[in-house]
Assembly symmetry: C2
Homo-oligomer: 247 residues x 2
Amino acid sequence: MLKRDSLVNRCVKEILSMIFGGLYPSGGKLPGERVLCCKLGISRTTLRECLARLREMGVIEQHQGRGTRVKRFSRRMIPADYRQSDYGEVALDEIIVARAALETAAAEQAARRMTPAALRHLGKLLERMSDEGIGLADFIKADMEFHRAIIQGSGNRVLLTAFDAIRPFHKYSQLATSYLSNEARSTIAHHHRILAALKTGQSRRLATAILDHMNDMKRYVRRKSGSGGTVNGRGAYGPATSDPKGT
Amino acid sequence: MLKRDSLVNRCVKEILSMIFGGLYPSGGKLPGERVLCCKLGISRTTLRECLARLREMGVIEQHQGRGTRVKRFSRRMIPADYRQSDYGEVALDEIIVARAALETAAAEQAARRMTPAALRHLGKLLERMSDEGIGLADFIKADMEFHRAIIQGSGNRVLLTAFDAIRPFHKYSQLATSYLSNEARSTIAHHHRILAALKTGQSRRLATAILDHMNDMKRYVRRKSGSGGTVNGRGAYGPATSDPKGT
DNA sequence: GAAACTGGTATGAAAAACATACCAGTTTCG
DNA sequence: CGAAACTGGTATGTTTTTCATACCAGTTTC
């Protein structure tokens, strides 16, 4: 039975995910409606329907002239209908295990099959990530695209499908966001090693570079989960709500 | 960017998947419109919009009074927009690589975390597969459930999501169907080894057992692709298109 | 040859999503 | 201060999508 899932419904989920993922943290401000609806690719009318529902759930507060604020709230306040797959609730450890499995599996083929054009693309992504002025959202996006390109380079469409399926977990993991925010330098260094390995065509070396990258994230998780607390650090980045013109 | 995917669009993809999956084979008849729209849970108007598009693509033929027939056609005739369901086109090799990656990754945790109840469930599935009277469709179903249960036993929801995402590839792979059909005995033997490894709790041994299973499939593929030809062997099983009354 | 199917057509209603313009508060900054 | 540039709030009308219903026209079945 094919079910109809209205645009409003899907957008509510999307916004909730962004909040859970730490892109718009508790107490923080949401972008203006005119900006947000552009980002989501929907009309303002439709967006306002979403925001109205979020307001009823007690997730946000709206004040004429001042903007929209994310309230402190519990996940329990959210009706089951909107609780996608609880992406934000899985441990980063689980995500890393899965990603390591997929990416190292892709490594063997990717090291051989990657085209010069694809390598150039990876270089450009790395450049973009190294730019000082880049916002957190764009940094995360570039990181994801980098890893996806490697798998795509393997030519294995099944691996790519699997990777795409687990992307939301990563995207909405507060810890993952935190890692990329605070360990940007480390991330870029690892990516350089991965790219270098790709260029030599040595699949073994590539797999090692990828595993090192994953293990670095794991270590970060151990450190953070030890100190506890909600990790929110924006690091050297500006506000998460970059890109005021929309994408 | 959240895109609007109309119901018509999604239904076209769904119907295409059903055709590719062998539920409605080339030259066969589609159910009547009044039946089909019920199955899909949409109105007849909407369904007819889907069928009109499939007709334009040359996928089906409609004749007043006689019904709708699936034409012989190439996948190339299908616009990219509808091609998400290229499941049948990927090589079984790709599927095996991905499955091996996910299942061995799950092995480490699964060997330790698997509960007695889950082990009993696996035993029952194995029993069912060993039953002489089982049909092909049920055999495939049990096989899938067996492997899924292992990943589920690892407790890693990300791996499980990835596995579920690639299931359709497996389901719509004619070669995979062929393997399970012709090598049922071998499949069962491998499953016994996997279950035994699970019971000992040795993750290493479990991973090896899983890899052996995958490699056996790989060898089968090599043999078959050597002899060429479309492998369709239904073996001793009944028709795949059971459930004539609809679900 | 009637009954029971099949697809083909037409029409009207409801819902969903959109574009647009304008109102009313708040903040920013010259 | 006070205008300009934001913010959310409101209202209106249109387009697109989906649905429900009825009826027409061939084909098959018995």
